[in-house]
Structures are given as structure tokens and as C-alpha cells.
Symmetry: C2
Subunit: 200 residues, 2 copies
Amino acid sequence: MAAPVDFYFDFSSPYGYFAAFKIDSLIERFERSVRWRPIMLGAAMKVSGNRPLAEQPIKGEYAVRDWDRMARFLELAWQKPDPFPIAALAPARAFYWLDDRDPKLAKAFAKAALHAYFGEGRNIAVPEVAAEAGAPLRIPAADLLAAVARPEIKERLKAETDAAIEQGVFGSPFIFVDNEPFWGQDRLWMVKRWLQSGGW
Amino acid sequence: MAAPVDFYFDFSSPYGYFAAFKIDSLIERFERSVRWRPIMLGAAMKVSGNRPLAEQPIKGEYAVRDWDRMARFLELAWQKPDPFPIAALAPARAFYWLDDRDPKLAKAFAKAALHAYFGEGRNIAVPEVAAEAGAPLRIPAADLLAAVARPEIKERLKAETDAAIEQGVFGSPFIFVDNEPFWGQDRLWMVKRWLQSGGW
């Protein structure tokens, strides 16, 4: 089996949310697995000189309209959360804590957290709210809360974010097929074509 | 026949170039016409606080790679021109001069100018070079050069750019189907779906 496809996203990114519910089914039909890698996009934006869409005049207003439209197209639960964006440290740290033991569970938790934030408007930056998202998956809240407070887990998220920046990640979602970078949920069609043809 | 679809682009925009060779065939199968509207994107960027991709660290490098990849995918002649980007006043002014008399000829000229710049690396910001692009279409160079120097044509491009900014245009290409905005060449699939279903 070929190397896994890397899927970078920020828990505060609407386009990351949209991609998260598509990426595995898209990639797995090519007999490749997907390695999820949540990052803190704010740190990457500092390096690339970008700003959150919500802070950008005109483009930010377009983005709000585009998120509504894309969510309707994908038939995904959607509301623009408040507060938005958030520094989603808690779910990202919880993800790595889970991923080391059970990558499948980590993905299920990530989807639940993304749904809680973008589908239900619950502020997953609050550790207790992130823990609630894990409850239906039988992830003990107390264990999750203890994990996200541990220095080595905090350091882990920082290291993963730094590694992503090092690889050239500047947005969310960001996908690598082998060493080929694809930025944006609206490029999933190109990822598919790339996998079909082995590049061009 | 329903109202025309508006297609905004900057002659210095690679994604505008890519879209220009697709847009008419895409739209016309829905029995809609396309109204081309070149603008000076720099003026729009001042309002929205954006910068040319070429000036952005990391994202700019990704863009260069993406242009190469997209051109190969579309099988369009492509080189990253030098200088890039340019203030493409001459071809945009020439476009409006032609468009008032013959919109079909104006589109053919626009395609020729885009090809000259992105396919052959010729600097179409130089009025004489823009005029050369019109030669195979039997557009008299002397007439074109006189037209692009006229105050009312200069004013026209400015007015069209201002109107685009007023409508919310912040990038190239930018497409309106009725009042629905679509930004980016990689959203042509969505424009198509929108026309197929009458929105969603």
C-alpha cells in the first residue's frame, strides 16, 4: 500500500469541516489511507502573512455566503458559529492524544468536534465542550480534559504545526499526495484526478 | 434568453487566463451568453486589502506550482511571464474599445492577448505588444494604439473597474450568475451546477 495521504486542517476552518466529511471516502477508493493532521492555522498564517477570512473586508463577506452555499450543496449541517474563528487548541490536542492509541477513534472524534462547532454552534475551544463531543464515542471526559492539559500534548500540537509549516502548509484544508500539495476543499476533484492518473 | 453571465478578469491573472478559454463553452450550453469585463484587479485589491499572489510568501510559491499543474491539466500553452504581474491597462482598454463595436471580436482579442502573455511570455502591458496580438484578427494596430490613448477609453476602464468593486469583485476570475457571485477558476464546476439546477 502506498504512503498515506496527509490531510491538514484547523478545527476552526469551515472548509476543513467540509473536507473532513469527504476525504476518507475519496482517498480510500485508491487504496490509500488518510493521515489526519490538525494544526493551528494562525501560526501558519503568521509565516505566510495571511489573515483569517473573517477579518478580510469583502472577501470575508463572500466567504460567509460561500460557506452557506457549500454546506447546502454538501447537505451538511451548518451555521456560522459564534465566536468565530476560535483558537481550537482543545480539540486539536485531544486529537493527537487519541491518534497515538487509535487513529480511527481520533478521526471519529474530530468529525464529532467539527460537527459540534459548525453544525451546532458549540464552542469547542472550551475543553469541556470538546470533551462533550467525545462522549457519544465513549471517550471519558475526565481523561480527555487531563490529556489536553499535559505539557507533552501541548508540545505535540506545536511540533505538528511547525512540521506542517515546514512542509509549506498555509491554509486549511491542505492535502499532500506523496509530495504534491493541494490547497482547499474545492480542489478535492483535483486530488481525485491526481490519484487516478498518478499525476500529469 | 436570460440575462448574460458576467465574467470579470484581469489580463495579468493566470486563473483568469485559464477560465477565459473555458467560460463561453461552459455557459452557452445553458442558453446564456457571457459578458466579459476586464478590470484592474490592483484597484479592487486596495479595497479588499489583498496582495498579488506573487508577493505572498509560501502561498505565492504554491501558486506558481499550481499554475504549472493547472495549465498541464487544461493543455493550455503556459509559461510564467516576466515581468509578472503587470498593470495590463493596454489590453483592457483595447477590449472596451472593441467591445462597443463587436463583442465577439473583443473576446477573440482578449484570448489572443492572454495567450500572448501567458502562452508566449510577451508583455502585453506595452501597447505595441497588445496591438500585435490583435494583428491576426485584422485589428489595425494604429487604430488600437490611438484608442487606448483616448481619455474616454481610459475613463471607461476605470468606471468598469469601479462598478466591479461596487458589486463585490475582489479576485480574478469572478463570475456572476444573476446576482450569485463565484470567485475563482476552480469554481467553474459550481457555476455549471448552479446553472443546471437554478441554484440550491
